[in-house]
């Protein structure tokens, strides 16, 4: 094909406009690695810090009820797991291997996106559930004995929980789902081009 030979000749004349030294790429790669290490360390430190706080509170303060200690532990557990999810630490474990062939790679990243979508949805529900239960248990000791006071406090807490469960949670899930679904749809579009 004569025309295509011209195209090929043209292609071989094309060269990068910028000359970027290998050392710059190595520096960027090292910085990327350092960022990952920092992010991972921050996640682990947050977890360790939370465990120390829970232990100190549990041993230092003389709560009358065990429910208070359990409540604090659950609230902190929810907060820390939320921090870990936001730090993207979990997603580092799901990083695909980019040295596989295109077809397998597309299948893998699509499966990973679906897994991410599933984890995020389940996690959000679990997060709100644990946080709510933790708050209810924590408040129990302080409202114990005063009926009116406990009704007011529990009504306010229940109101917040209902708002979070019925409005904030579905809204966050919908947003995350839309984002990942869009990527999944686009990946499916490319994967469909590879059907033989």
């Amino acid at each position: 094909m004569e025309d295509f030979n011209d195209i090929k000749a043209l292609w071989t004349q094309a060269a990068p406009k910028q000359s970027v030294d290998a050392s710059i790429v190595i520096r960027a790669a090292k910085m990327y690695k350092a960022r990952i290490i920092l992010r991972t360390s921050a996640g682990i430190l947050a977890l360790a810090g939370a465990l120390i706080v829970v232990s100190l509170v549990a041993f230092h303060y003389q709560f009358r009820f065990a429910t208070t200690k359990v409540g604090i532990a659950l609230v902190i557990l929810a907060i820390v797991s939320g921090m870990l999810m936001n730090s993207q630490l979990v997603w580092l474990l799901l990083k695909p291997n980019s040295t596989m062939d295109n077809k397998t790679f597309l299948k893998t990243i699509k499966a990973l996106q679906q897994k991410e979508q599933y984890i995020q949805t389940k996690f959000l529900s679990l997060y709100f559930a644990v946080l709510s239960i933790g708050m209810m248990l924590y408040l129990f000791e302080f409202t114990y004995g005063g009926l009116l006071f406990s009704i007011i406090i529990y009504s306010a807490t229940m109101g917040w929980i209902l708002f979070a469960w019925l409005y904030l949670r579905p809204r966050s899930i919908r947003k995350q789902r839309e984002r990942t679904q869009k990527i999944i749809d686009q990946l499916e579009g490319v994967a469909a081009q590879m059907e033989e």
């Binding site: 195209i7 090929k8 004349q13 094309a14 790429v25 295109n102 490319v190």
Partner: protein, 156 residues
């Protein structure tokens, strides 16, 4: 295997693949950098040095395919380069070629760029995951389509 050696040998080829995929100088440079970061991180896992080309083109094409969410949104116009070793007319033809390739479907862009890089069909099959027979059929079709596009742009 030495990273600098691999980088210097494959950077122009990877750059062309990326430019054919996105037809945008800045985006292509970002992609090239990301690709070579991945190469640097994984070079120690490469068992057989004889397959370094296949290995790098796999990383490069996978990285390009991952950008699908960004490239589908906007078709960018390639700005004319500020400095180049080629004549302005050749440079303009090269930019038109990049644009014509970037108008193809995502997998076709990868296939044709690998063909233009003179890779044998068996290697293209190993990079993309297509069978050799399928590569042959597809490449024939893409060559025709690309030639027509270039002719329509008055560049052949």
């Amino acid at each position: 295997m030495n990273f600098e050696q691999v980088y210097n040998e494959y950077r122009p080829r990877v750059y062309r693949l990326c430019m054919g995929y996105v037809a945008d100088e800045a985006q292509a440079e970002d992609l090239v950098q990301e690709i070579f970061i991945t190469v640097w991180q994984n070079l120690h896992t490469l068992k057989n040095e004889a397959y370094v080309g296949t290995w790098i083109f796999r990383i490069a094409s996978n990285q390009c395919l991952r950008t699908v969410q960004n490239t589908r949104k906007k078709k960018q116009v390639v700005p004319l380069p500020e400095t180049t070793n080629t004549t302005p007319e050749t440079e303009e033809r090269i930019q038109t070629l990049y644009r014509c390739i970037a108008e193809l479907e995502e997998t076709d862009r990868i296939l044709i760029s690998l063909v233009l890089e003179d890779l044998p069909q068996a290697e293209i099959a190993a990079i993309t995951g297509f069978t050799e027979g399928n590569v042959r059929v597809r490449v024939h079709r893409i060559k025709e389509r690309l030639s027509k596009k270039m002719q329509a742009n008055g560049r052949l």
